[in-house]
C-alpha cells in the first residue's frame, strides 16, 4: 500500500487470477495417486450475498445457467456466518466439469461487479477411510490450501494431514505460502 493510499484511506484492489482454478484437475490426479484422496464430485463457491435487487437477480441467473445443463441441481446454502455457498455436484471423476462450473460462478460474480464479495471456492476429496479434505481456492489471493477437519473431534483441524498435502500439491498449483491465511471453513457444505 502506497503512502498516498494510507493518507487518503483507501487500498488497492488485488487482481485475482481465476485461471488458477484450471490447475485443480491435475492436482486431483496427484491427490489420488500419492495421497489416496479421490474426488467426491462436490464443489462450492462461497460469497457474501449483497443486499439489493441487483445481486439477487444475478444470483438467480447464475443458478439458472448452471442448472440448464440437466445435471444435478445447484444448491444454495447459507451458513451460520451469513455467507452463501453455491454447491455444484458432478460425477466424481468429472473434475474438470466441476471446475468449469465453479469458474463460471466466480466469473459471473466478478463481471457483475461483485468480485469483492467472493470469499473462496472449494473442491472436496475423500479418503477410503472416510477422512475428508477440502481444497480451498482463495479468490483474493489466487492461491490454494488444503483444509482437513479432524476425524472425531468437533471443529478440530488435522494440521499434519494439511501440511502433508501441501507438499504433494506444490507442483500442480500455487499453495498459499502464508499459513495465517489458511482460514478454517467450518460449516462448509459437504465437508
Amino acid at each position: 500500500m502506497g503512502f498516498m493510499d494510507a493518507i487518503l484511506g483507501r487500498r488497492k484492489q488485488v487482481k485475482p487470477d481465476l485461471d488458477q482454478l484450471f490447475a485443480v484437475p491435475s492436482a486431483a490426479v496427484t491427490l489420488q495417486v500419492s495421497g489416496g484422496f479421490t474426488p467426491t464430485g462436490v464443489g462450492s463457491v462461497c460469497y457474501r450475498a449483497n443486499e439489493g435487487a441487483a445481486f439477487a437477480t444475478m444470483q438467480n441467473d447464475v443458478q439458472r445457467l448452471l442448472d440448464a445443463d440437466g445435471g444435478p441441481a445447484v444448491e444454495r446454502v447459507t451458513d451460520s456466518f451469513g455467507f452463501t455457498w453455491l454447491v455444484c455436484r458432478q460425477e466424481p471423476e468429472a473434475v474438470s466439469e466441476l471446475v468449469t462450473e465453479l469458474h463460471a460462478v466466480n466469473r459471473s460474480l466478478e463481471e457483475a461487479g461483485f468480485g469483492a464479495s467472493l470469499l473462496c471456492s472449494l473442491v472436496i476429496f475423500e479418503h477410503a477411510d472416510g477422512r475428508r479434505l477440502g481444497l480451498v481456492y482463495l479468490y483474493k489471493q489466487g492461491t490454494f490450501y488444503p483444509f482437513a477437519p479432524a476425524a472425531g473431534g468437533r471443529e478440530q483441524r488435522d494440521n499434519a494431514l494439511e501440511l502433508q498435502m501441501r507438499g504433494l500439491l506444490g507442483n500442480d498449483l500455487t499453495v498459499e505460502p502464508d499459513l495465517s491465511r489458511w482460514m478454517a471453513i467450518w460449516g462448509a457444505p459437504g465437508l
Partner: protein
C-alpha cells in the same frame, strides 16, 4: 477486468485532503515561529520525536489497558474469530488480535499503528445487543480503520497539537518565574499565545479529520460486507442505547471516544465542531447511498 461496485467518493477525499493540508500549513507556521523566536531547534525536535515515538509504540497498549480488555483465542470466542477471519480474507489483510472487554456499554474500537500490529476490541454489551449481521457490519467498520491505518494517521495528525499544548503548559509553569529576565518575557509570551492558538486550531482540525475517517470507514465497511443496512441498523441501535444510558457512568470512557464506533459521551448542546464522529443522520444517509449503489442494476 470486471468493474467493481466500489466507487470512489471524490468529495469526501478532497475535503479530507484539504483538512490535512491545512494542518500541515498550521504546524509548519508554528515551527517557523518557534525557531524565529530563538527556541532551540534541537529541543523542539527532541520533544516532538519523543512524543511521536511514545504515541506510535504505546497507543494500542494504553488503549487496551484503559478498557481492561483481554485477548481471546479462537477457542474462547469462535464466532467472533470466525467472523473476523472471513472479513480479513475478503479484505486481504492480516488478522488483527481480538479483544473482549466486559462492559455493558455497546461499543467497539480498533487500535494499533499498522495492520500487522493491530487489535480489534468489542464490549460484551455490543455482542449481546447486536445480531450477527449487525456485529459483522461493525467489525467491518473497525477493520476498515485498521486497513486505512487510521490510528497512525490520527496519531500523527494530533501529536504536534499535543506538543503545542505542552509548550502552553510550560509557559504557565515557568513563564511567571522568569519574567524578571530583561526582554526575555516578550518572546515567551508570543510563543505561549501562539501555541495556545495552534493547539486550539489543531484540535478542531483533528476532529474534522476524525469525522471524515469515520465516514470513510463506514463506506468501505459497508462495501466489504455488502450490507450497508446492517451497519446502519447497528449504528441506530448503538446510538439509541447510548442516549438511554446515563451520561455519568460513561464519563470514564470519554478519553477513548476517538477510537469508538459511536461516541460514548452524548454531547448535549455541544456543537458538532467538537465531535469525533459525524452525526448519526449523516452516517445513515451515506449508508443509504451505498445501498442504492449496490442495488443498481448493471
Amino acid at each position: 477486468m470486471a468493474s467493481s461496485r466500489f466507487i470512489k467518493d471524490r468529495g469526501l477525499t478532497s475535503r479530507m485532503t484539504l483538512v490535512m493540508a491545512l494542518m500541515a500549513v498550521l504546524y509548519l507556521a508554528f515551527m517557523a515561529l518557534l525557531i524565529t523566536q530563538g527556541v532551540s531547534t534541537a529541543a523542539i525536535i527532541v520533544i516532538a520525536a519523543a512524543f511521536a515515538v511514545g504515541q506510535w509504540y504505546f497507543s494500542d497498549k494504553v488503549a487496551l489497558a484503559a478498557m481492561r480488555a483481554r485477548q481471546v483465542t479462537p477457542e474462547q470466542a469462535p464466532e467472533l474469530h470466525g467472523m473476523i477471519d472471513r472479513l480479513c480474507a475478503m479484505a486481504v489483510m492480516p488478522k488483527p488480535r481480538v479483544y473482549i472487554t466486559d462492559m455493558d456499554m455497546p461499543n467497539a474500537f480498533a487500535t494499533g499503528r499498522s495492520p500487522k500490529h493491530s487489535a480489534v476490541c468489542v464490549t460484551t454489551g455490543i455482542m449481546r445487543r447486536l445480531t450477527a449481521e449487525e456485529l459483522e457490519g461493525v467489525l467491518a467498520h473497525e477493520l476498515s480503520h485498521v486497513a486505512h491505518r487510521d490510528v497512525a494517521v490520527m496519531t500523527i495528525a494530533s501529536f504536534l497539537g499535543v506538543v503545542a499544548g505542552l509548550i502552553t503548559r510550560w509557559g504557565l509553569i515557568f513563564g511567571g518565574g522568569r519574567g524578571n529576565n530583561n526582554g526575555g518575557a516578550l518572546p515567551f509570551l508570543v510563543i505561549w499565545l501562539a501555541s495556545m492558538v495552534v493547539a486550539a486550531i489543531g484540535f478542531l482540525l483533528t476532529r474534522v479529520l476524525s469525522r471524515y475517517r469515520e465516514l470513510c470507514a463506514d463506506r468501505s465497511g459497508a462495501f466489504l460486507t455488502g450490507k450497508p443496512s446492517a451497519l446502519a441498523s447497528a449504528l441506530t441501535k448503538i446510538s439509541g442505547d447510548m442516549a438511554r444510558i446515563p451520561t455519568r457512568d460513561l464519563r470514564q470512557a470519554e478519553t477513548m471516544n476517538a477510537f469508538f464506533i459511536a461516541p460514548a459521551l452524548k454531547g448535549t448542546g455541544l456543537n458538532s465542531l467538537l465531535a469525533t464522529h459525524p452525526p448519526l443522520e449523516q452516517r445513515l444517509d451515506q449508508l443509504a447511498k451505498v445501498s442504492a449503489q449496490l442495488g443498481r442494476p448493471l
